[in-house]
Every structure is written in structure tokens, then in C-alpha cells.
């Protein structure tokens, strides 16, 4: 589903964010990107979204090299990827339902399709009774569930999550992880950057560890830290 080939990203000013990363993520997999702040997790996610351009290397999403994608096609790439961020990124002027529906409006779906589809995903995240509220009227965990709902409402084959539990307390985080796990079980590929040890250890999924922009470890059903480190 996603394949990175010798990907290097150097920011303006010469700081190397990501160095020679090669990685293959098959369809339906759940992958944790772990490592301290500044290790390159977020940069990798931004590169996969084409929010940044690679300095060297190629990134294939669904068989297509997105590094050579003309910029007018970038919106189409993003429609096949759901994104969840630490800061939720909800539109404050729209209600919860409007926020979720927005992802479908952008695709030009007719209203008759948008309504039921939004309702379905609101049921999935357990917020169907709060659709008419505004984001500021919800708790952090609820806002993040809205964000997950928006990311998943058009059933993208890929979900990219950048520290989705970063602003949440442990109990709330578990709820979000359960949600992402359910979404993953529908066949959606999930890539999640995190430095939350407990979550990674509990989920027992593939772990890719980064440090200073390089890949240290790629382990199936791994823990946050290697046995040697603990």
C-alpha cells in the first residue's frame, strides 16, 4: 500500500529530518512510528501526504509515485488518505456534523449520500447525539473522535495519524486506540506516529523506530523499546 524508497528530507537551512528511509507497508497493516520528538516521525507523515516534498527518494502510495505527482493531483491523493492530528484540526465555525460532512462536500458527493454516511460514521465513533454541537463544546477525547470520524467518513484505504493521543489522558487514549483498531480491522492501513509507550506495548503491532531521522528498528508485533533498552 505504501512504499518508501531511500527517502531523504532536508529542510531549508540544511537540517536533515529524515535520512535514507526504506519501508514497505502492506495493505491492512497497523504500523507504529516511534521515537523521540525530532526523530522524523511527523516529517515522514507529512511526506506521505505531500505536505512536504522529498529531497531524495520515492514514495509510492497505491502503486503511484507521489513525489512526482503534479500539484493539481495532490488533492486526489489526500482524498484516499484519512488524517488525524494531535491538535484535532477541526473547523471551529462548523458543527461536529458539518465538520465530518465537509470531507464529503469536498468530494462533491450529493446531499442524499452525505447525510446517511455521516450518520453511520458518527455512530461508529459514538457521537451521534452530539452532531449539532460545536467542537469547543466537546472534550478533547470527543473532538479527537470527531477528527477520526472525518478522516474515515469516505472510507479511505489509508489512515495517517500523527500523535493522535498526544493531547489526551490515558483513559481517553484507550478509547481512540480502540476506534483506530476497529477501523484497521475493516482493512484500512493505519500508520500512527506516537511516543506513547503504553499504547504501543498494549497493541502489539509492527513498530518502526526512528532516531535522528534514521530508521533504527522495524519489528513485527514489537514494543515501544527493545528488550536491550529496557
Amino acid at each position: 500500500m505504501i512504499r518508501l524508497q531511500d527517502v531523504t528530507k532536508v529542510y531549508e537551512g540544511g537540517s536533515v529530518a529524515v535520512r535514507d528511509i526504506s519501508l514497505e507497508i502492506p495493505k491492512g497493516e497497523f504500523v507504529f512510528l516511534v521515537g523521540p520528538s525530532g526523530s522524523g516521525k511527523s516529517t515522514l507523515i507529512r511526506l506521505m501526504l505531500r505536505e512536504e516534498s522529498v529531497t531524495r527518494g520515492s514514495i509510492f502510495v497505491a502503486g503511484k509515485d507521489i513525489t512526482t505527482l503534479p500539484s493539481w493531483k495532490v488533492p486526489f491523493l489526500r482524498r484516499s488518505i484519512g488524517t488525524v492530528f494531535q491538535d484535532f484540526k477541526l473547523l471551529p465555525n462548523k458543527t461536529v456534523e458539518e465538520n465530518v460532512a465537509f470531507a464529503l462536500e469536498v468530494l462533491g458527493r450529493p446531499r442524499s449520500v452525505i447525510g446517511p454516511q455521516v450518520q453511520q460514521v458518527m455512530d461508529l465513533v459514538g457521537l451521534s447525539d452530539k452532531g449539532a454541537r460545536y467542537p469547543r463544546q466537546l472534550s478533547g477525547g470527543e473532538q479527537q473522535r470527531v477528527s477520526v470520524a472525518r478522516a474515515f467518513v469516505n472510507r479511505p484505504p489509508i489512515m495517517l495519524c500523527d500523535e493522535p493521543t498526544g493531547n489526551l489522558d490515558p483513559a481517553t487514549s484507550v478509547g481512540i486506540m480502540k476506534l483506530l483498531d476497529r477501523i484497521n480491522r475493516t482493512g484500512t492501513t493505519v500508520v500512527m506516529a506516537t511516543h506513547d509507550h503504553a499504547i504501543v506495548d498494549a497493541m502489539q503491532r509492527r513498530v518502526v523506530q526512528l532516531a535522528n531521522g534514521s530508521m533504527l528498528r522495524d519489528e513485527v508485533a514489537g514494543r515501544y523499546e527493545t528488550a536491550a533498552e529496557t
Binding site: V10, E12, G14, V16, R46, L49, R50, E51, E52, S53, T55, S71, W72, V74, P75, F76, L77, R78, R79, T83, K89, L90, L91, N93, F102, A103, E105, V106, L107, G108, P110, R111, R150
Partner: protein, 313 residues
């Protein structure tokens, strides 16, 4: 269809939610276009008034009475016939003593003293009124008239004054048009600036739109509609305000005879449409200018130069 409706609804909701910025943009358009339109209207007034002067009678030739003091009985008709053959003369007509007296009575209808002074209607001389095809030719015509010394009592000409007025109105015209252009250009810049501010205030929203895969046009259209609406509303207010001002001015100027303060409705119709279109175009252009930089940045693509510079690392 539902998509177009969605975009229009987005634009309207944005207009309502950012009322202060929107009012600012509309005022910017209103003030600059209002001043520009006002300058144009004043210009039109000057033009109308000089036109009236230029088209009137330019030379009046007062004639000695025929059949007396050696003036032949048919001398008036002979001169009249001759004047009409001259190329410089667009139109000439003969006012006999009776007509002159009637005219006098008309002019001083409200002034009994003046009417009393003139007891004998035959005192007033007959005259020939001449309209020139080109006002610059007045000296040649005057010269030729002066050849008929014994027939002519007096030649009265407003040509020189009219020439001076024409010169002044030419300068006023130029000033008015220059002012309109400068104010129109400042309208575009003000709109662009205001919309850029509006977009800056909503940059998070724009980045979220991009994140969920909105195309640049999808993001742009509500902003363009906003700019369009702001431009049209501002321009309509400007045209309306100047029209109201002109109506008041014309109302105040009813008693004044020398100057015409009435601007014809066709002027407002023609230029009103032009200003509305200009306001709409300025709104759209302003939005495009305000958006272009932000959308490019939000794309994550770096300008070609800086990216090449990083390649060797």
C-alpha cells in the same frame, strides 16, 4: 448543482461570520469607487456646461435700420444671405425689430422697471445671430462682417470667453479622469489587502480544507464569491450615493439659469454599469491576489530555486 449550492452557502456563511472584515472591504470599495464616480460626475457637469456654451450663439450682429442713413432697404436680407454662404457659419438667423422687442420683454418679464424704460418698441435694433461651426474661426467671421461698416451698428461676440472656458474645462476633464483612475486603482489594492487579511485570519481553515483533499478551486471559489459580492455591494453603494448627491445638487440648482446642474440619467446608467463591473472585477482580482500566495505555500511545494539549492546535501 448541490456542489454549487454548497460553495455559495459557504461564501454567505463566511460573509456573515466575518462581518467586520466584510464591512471593511465593502467600505473600502465604497469610498474609493464613490470618490472616483463623484469625480467623473463633476467632470460630466463641467462637460455639459461647456457644451451648452459652445453650442450657443457665438456672434450677434446688431444692424442699423434699413432705409435710413444711406442703408438700402434690402440690406438686411442681402447680408443675411451672404452670411449664410460662409463656410464657418453653422447656422444664422435674423431677428427683426419686433422679435427683438418680444425677446426683450421675455428677458425682463420679471423686472417692470426695465419694461417701463423701453417705451418705444422700435428702439431696439434688428440683428443677425450666428452660430459658428468651429469656434476658433470667430476672428475671420468678425473681419468679414466689419466690411459692411455702414450697415453694422455693433458686433458682439462671446467667442473669446468661450475659448477660455474650453481650455479650463479641458484641464478639469483631465484632472477628473486622472483622479478617477488613481482612486479606482486604490480600490483594487484595498480590496486585495482586505481579502488577504480575511484569508490570513482563516489560514487554519484553508489548511484543513487542503488536508481533507479540497482542490485549490474548491477552496478559492467561496473566497472569490465573497470578493465578488463585496465588490458589487461596495460599487452599488458608491453609484447610489453619487446619484443621490447629484439629485440633491440638481434640486438645489433649479433656480440657477447660467449653470446646468442636471446630470442625465443615461450617464448614471452607463457609468453605473461600468462601475458595478469594475467593483466585481476588483473583488475577484483582489481575492485571487490574496489567495495565490497562500495556496501555493499551503501546497508544501517549495519554489524551484530553493529546492535545487538543497539537492547536493
Amino acid at each position: 448543482m448541490s456542489r454549487a449550492a454548497f460553495l455559495l452557502r459557504e461564501a454567505l456563511v463566511n460573509l456573515r461570520r466575518n462581518l467586520l472584515v466584510v464591512v471593511g472591504a465593502i467600505l473600502a470599495v465604497f469610498i474609493s469607487l464613490g470618490l472616483a464616480f463623484g469625480a467623473l460626475a463633476v467632470n460630466e457637469l463641467v462637460r455639459i456646461n461647456t457644451l451648452a456654451w459652445q453650442e450657443g450663439v457665438h456672434i450677434i450682429v446688431f444692424l442699423n435700420d434699413a432705409g435710413r442713413d444711406g442703408v438700402p432697404a434690402d440690406a438686411h436680407q442681402a447680408l443675411m444671405a451672404e452670411v449664410q454662404t460662409w463656410d464657418e457659419v453653422a447656422n444664422a438667423y435674423y431677428i427683426d425689430k419686433t422679435a427683438a422687442y418680444e425677446e426683450y420683454q421675455q428677458i425682463f418679464a420679471s423686472d417692470p422697471d426695465m419694461l417701463e424704460i423701453l417705451e418705444n418698441p422700435t428702439v431696439l435694433p434688428a440683428s443677425i445671430r450666428i452660430e459658428l461651426s468651429d469656434i476658433d474661426q470667430y476672428q475671420a467671421v468678425e473681419f468679414r462682417l466689419q466690411q459692411h461698416v455702414q450697415l453694422i451698428n455693433k458686433i458682439s461676440s462671446a467667442a473669446q470667453e468661450i475659448e477660455q472656458i474650453s481650455a479650463v474645462s479641458g484641464v478639469l476633464n483631465l484632472l477628473g479622469i486622472g483622479l478617477a483612475i488613481v482612486l479606482g486603482a486604490s480600490a483594487v489594492i484595498l480590496i486585495a489587502n482586505t481579502i488577504r487579511l480575511a484569508i490570513y485570519a482563516r489560514r487554519d481553515e484553508v489548511s484543513i480544507m487542503k488536508l481533507v483533499g479540497a482542490s485549490n478551486w474548491f477552496i478559492r471559489i467561496p473566497f472569490l464569491l465573497e470578493g465578488l459580492i463585496e465588490g458589487i455591494v461596495g460599487a452599488a453603494l458608491a453609484v447610489f450615493a453619487v446619484w443621490v448627491a447629484a439629485q440633491n445638487l440638481a434640486g438645489a440648482g433649479v433656480g440657477i439659469q447660467l449653470i446646468n446642474l442636471q446630470i442625465p440619467g443615461t450617464f448614471f446608467l452607463r457609468w453605473g454599469v461600468v462601475f458595478l463591473l469594475f467593483g466585481a472585477a476588483a473583488g475577484v482580482l483582489g481575492s485571487l491576489l490574496g489567495l495565490s500566495r497562500y495556496l501555493r505555500e499551503a501546497d508544501g511545494a517549495r519554489p524551484a530555486g530553493s529546492r535545487r539549492a538543497l539537492e547536493p546535501v
